[in-house]
């Protein structure tokens, strides 16, 4: 909501609040006039009026927060539970200990740290290269006029409707053919998976970036050109810095996408020690012989923490990107 949210206290914000309150007061069965008066300053606190105006909103808020957070509370509680079973995790915060964290990090049968590192490498490299490839293409579409430009843009919009996952069978067969010639970039390699993800780099993100590139005035390019800068220098030293916010958004969305991606990753990465968190943890808990729920919860907390923190830290940028059509 970076740009759209009215500043609290400003006229817009107050007006919005007034009208919203009136609407809600009507729905709550109260008299709008009364409710409006209740908003005035310096009057004795009266619960009924407070409740009709904003109190019930807090009630809704509490219910929703409980719904939103109870799985989170559950998983944190069970990760702190030294007792490993699912049943033992039901008494919330009955025991506090970090045994489960130690177990998931050191269990030789479960290469959790390797999965974590694989995920960071694959998602990180994919994010950086996706941003780079997308920015190159967006620069061309935004700043140059050439035959096939409109066709190229339309193709990209159309192609992004078909996620790669739909072609997973063909991706697997193409990658196994590549394995026959070049095992180093074929099945069961991180480079192979990253290459597949890069296939989606242009489709999803170029249009998002293209819009943002268009907001940078072209007079900047012209000034630099008059000063003798070539196209590459304009791109790398001037434009890339001006569009940094959209680069951050695309990098983050791409990162989260790769962390979450299961279908292609599970097909391409065969050996356990090559897999990502999504593939490894899913196979771990679906194995009926694995009963250490606490260790899984600890792993889930460790895995989710960086993504959640990154997300909350960059949320105002992400929300802007979301409205532009990126769906997680």
């Amino acid at each position: 909501m970076s740009n759209q949210q009215p500043i609290p206290g400003s006229e817009t914000g107050l007006l919005e609040g007034e009208l919203g309150e009136e609407r809600d007061a009507v729905r709550a069965g109260g008299d709008p006039a009364l409710a409006r008066r209740a908003a005035g300053p310096k009057r004795p606190f009266r619960f009924g009026k407070w409740f009709a105006a904003t109190g019930w909103r807090h009630l809704v808020g509490l219910v929703v927060v409980a719904f939103a957070l109870f799985p989170v509370v559950f998983v944190i509680s069970s990760s702190l539970n030294p007792n490993g079973t699912l049943t033992g995790s039901n008494a919330l915060f009955s025991q506090i200990g970090f045994d489960a964290y130690a177990r998931i990090l050191t269990n030789p049968q479960v290469p959790f740290t390797t999965w974590f590192a694989n995920t960071l490498i694959i998602a990180g490299v994919t994010a950086i290269l996706t941003v780079f490839l997308g920015a190159l293409a967006a620069y061309a579409f935004s700043r140059m006029r050439f035959t096939g430009r409109r066709f190229g843009l339309i193709t990209i919009v159309v192609v992004q409707m078909f996620p790669q996952m739909l072609a997973v069978v063909a991706i697997f067969l193409v990658m196994s053919a590549i394995s026959d010639w070049f095992p180093a970039i074929g099945l069961n390699t991180h480079i192979g998976l990253i290459m597949v993800y890069l296939g989606g780099a242009l489709g999803v993100n170029t249009y998002l970036m293209y819009g943002y590139f268009n907001t940078i005035p072209a007079s900047i390019d012209e000034a630099a050109k008059i000063d003798g800068a070539g196209h590459a220098r304009i791109f790398f030293t001037i434009i890339l810095r001006l569009v940094a916010p959209i680069l951050a958004v695309v990098a983050l969305l791409s990162f989260i996408f790769s962390v979450n991606e299961y279908v292609v990753a599970s097909v391409i990465l065969i050996d356990t020690e090559n897999q990502t968190l999504a593939v490894g943890l899913t196979k771990l808990v679906s194995n009926p012989r694995y009963a250490d729920w606490a260790a899984f919860s600890a792993g889930a907390v460790i895995a989710a923490l960086p993504v959640v923190l990154l997300f909350l830290y960059l949320q105002k940028y992400i929300v802007g990107g979301l409205s532009a059509g990126a769906v997680k």
């Binding site: 699912l86 039901n90 070539g230 899913t282």
Partner: protein, 540 residues
């Protein structure tokens, strides 16, 4: 945006630049690029070309001429693009486009092709590969085989046999390459022990690689019916022949022990008269067989119908529930006087920030029928079959997807509500409209205009929302009546995945045929989306 950097490539420039202008532009361009950037460019292109040359060599060795031609063509094109002065946009587009074409466009087209083949377990390669693997699998030692004295030799990791036949003639061959006469470089007591270009394995190496060596079967000649030389100990070899006989002219396989004749009747496997097949077979195009099978085979048609219906229902209900909850919350929290809205917002975003595969796995644990938190604590020890009853599992999937999706809808609805200009409210209240009327007849339509494209995108996303289905219920409960591993909460994409990659038999052809169904639905959705949003017309 009508300005261009490089007028040379402008298609619509009014007057073509004069010769002088062109020369001036060239000089300016050359002056701007430093020697360093030229070096970087040369270095990068050098690396690309080196990799390409290596790739071409590898492809030449395996004689894949078509792929080789494509790689060579692309390499030449890339070099031309980066050395020519007239291809500025292509310099920026090429890197992304190469990946896009290979891993997005080509694979979609290739999926279409696979749908018309019998690709899958038992039908993986060409007919020649099927014949040689059938022959190799049925090799048996010829009872009165002469003893061939052999030496195991190695060339870059490939094992070969240096065979000295009873007459004292030496020949060399590998699994791929039938025996051919050679001149041994060293002969020890009538037995050839070394040959130029190959390393003779020492006794300790033979012990270390026993498994590889005993697996080695060197064809006696080009005709697979002549059998192969195998060695059980690395020093003496015997002739093994297959108990299948392949008649290339008639295209038949005869089982010598039973006398059954299997012939190629165009189904991609050698088939006997009673219909029994010997596998592996080979890959052929089968026309519309996969589609016909999916629709007319009653055991497949049933699952296809309910999976398709459920996919639509799941996507529609998910969009509707998340949108209405999100909109309701956006209205509730869109009040400037309410304190602490920021904290509510952060708490509500958390489900959206957690990677969805983790959330779904945690929910699966909580919904466990006998031990889960929901049954044990919230419902006080009830045993509600959240994930094991066909209908309850559907409900659970919807609930979990609501949990995963409502924050997104809350965020976009809040944004849309706040971007509606406030004079709308003013005008309607002056005209005497109630707050509800203002909302229902003015704000909601305005909101829908900006949110509708996102709702369509959300539908398309949920249509293929693999993670929530696969991690939560794994598509289950399993439909035991179906010959493919499909369950009652499977959506089309998870069914594609399971048919192709899980279970005993991988059926790529059928899976690709199911993918085609998704293509068609997605294409229809995108046409509707583009019609509504007119986003394509905005591209100038």
């Amino acid at each position: 945006m009508s300005t261009t950097i490089d007028e040379d490539v402008a298609t619509g420039s009014a007057t073509p630049p004069t010769k002088r202008q062109k020369r001036a532009a060239r000089i300016a361009d050359a002056a701007s690029g430093g020697i360093r950037s030229i070096l970087v460019k040369l270095l990068l292109l050098g690396i690309v070309d080196a990799i390409a040359v290596y790739a071409i060599l590898v492809l030449a060795l395996s004689q894949d001429w078509l792929v080789l031609a494509i790689v060579a063509g692309v390499t030449v094109l890339v070099n031309w693009i980066y050395f020519s002065r007239r291809t500025l946009p292509a310099k920026y587009l090429t890197p992304g486009v190469i990946f896009l074409v290979l891993f997005q466009v080509f694979v979609l087209v290739y999926t279409g092709y696979i749908a018309f083949t019998n690709y899958g377990t038992g039908h993986n390669g060409s007919k020649e590969q099927a014949v040689s693997s059938l022959m190799a699998a049925s090799l048996e030692r010829v009872p009165d085989s002469p003893t061939y004295r052999v030496t195991v030799v190695d060339q870059l990791g490939t094992l070969g046999l240096l065979v000295t036949d009873p007459n004292g003639d030496a020949s060399l061959g590998t699994t791929e390459q039938p025996l051919q006469p050679v001149d041994p470089s060293e002969v020890d007591g009538g037995k050839a022990v070394a040959v130029d270009g190959w390393t003779t394995l020492q006794f300790s190496d033979v012990i270390a690689r026993t498994n590889e060596i005993t697996e080695l079967a060197v064809p006696f000649s080009d005709d697979p019916n002549d059998g192969a030389i195998r060695t059980p100990d690395g020093s003496s070899g015997y002739l093994y022949t297959s108990n299948l006989e392949y008649d290339e002219a008639a295209g038949t396989m005869t089982d010598l022990s039973t006398g059954t004749v299997y012939s190629d009747i165009g189904t991609g496997a050698f088939t006997a008269e009673d219909g029994s097949e010997i596998l592996p077979g080979w890959q052929i195009t089968v026309g519309f067989d996969n589609f016909v099978r999916a629709v007319t085979d009653t055991r497949l048609a049933g699952p296809l119908v309910y999976v398709t219906l459920w996919t639509f229902a799941f996507a529609l209900i998910s969009v509707a529930t998340t949108f209405f909850l999100g909109l309701f919350l956006a209205i509730v929290f869109n009040d400037m006087r309410m304190k602490g809205r920021r904290y509510y917002r952060v708490a509500m975003i958390i489900p959206y920030a957690i990677p969805s595969f983790l959330s779904a796995l945690v929910w699966a644990g909580m919904m466990n029928e006998s031990f889960g938190f929901i049954n044990q604590v919230i419902f006080g020890g009830a045993s509600i079959p959240w994930l094991t009853d066909p209908w309850m599992a559907k409900l659970s999937v919807i609930i979990v997807n609501l949990w995963l999706g409502f924050p997104y809808m809350f965020l976009i609805c809040t944004g849309a509500l706040q971007s509606i200009p406030d004079d709308v409210n003013e005008a309607s209240s002056i005209d005497g409209a109630s707050a509800w009327q203002t909302f229902r007849h003015i704000k909601l339509p305005l909101l829908l205009v900006s949110v509708a494209p996102l709702l369509i995108a959300s539908f398309a996303f949920n249509f293929n929302n693999f993670n929530v289905i696969y991690m939560l219920t794994n598509g289950g409960p399993r439909d035991t009546g179906a010959p493919i591993p499909v369950g009652f909460t499977d959506i089309l994409i998870s069914m594609v995945y399971k048919v192709a990659f899980t279970g005993q038999n991988r059926d790529y052809g059928l899976a690709a045929a199911y993918s085609i169904i998704i293509f068609i639905v997605v294409a229809v959705i995108s046409i509707i989306a583009f019609r509504r949003t007119k986003s394509l017309e905005e591209i100038n």
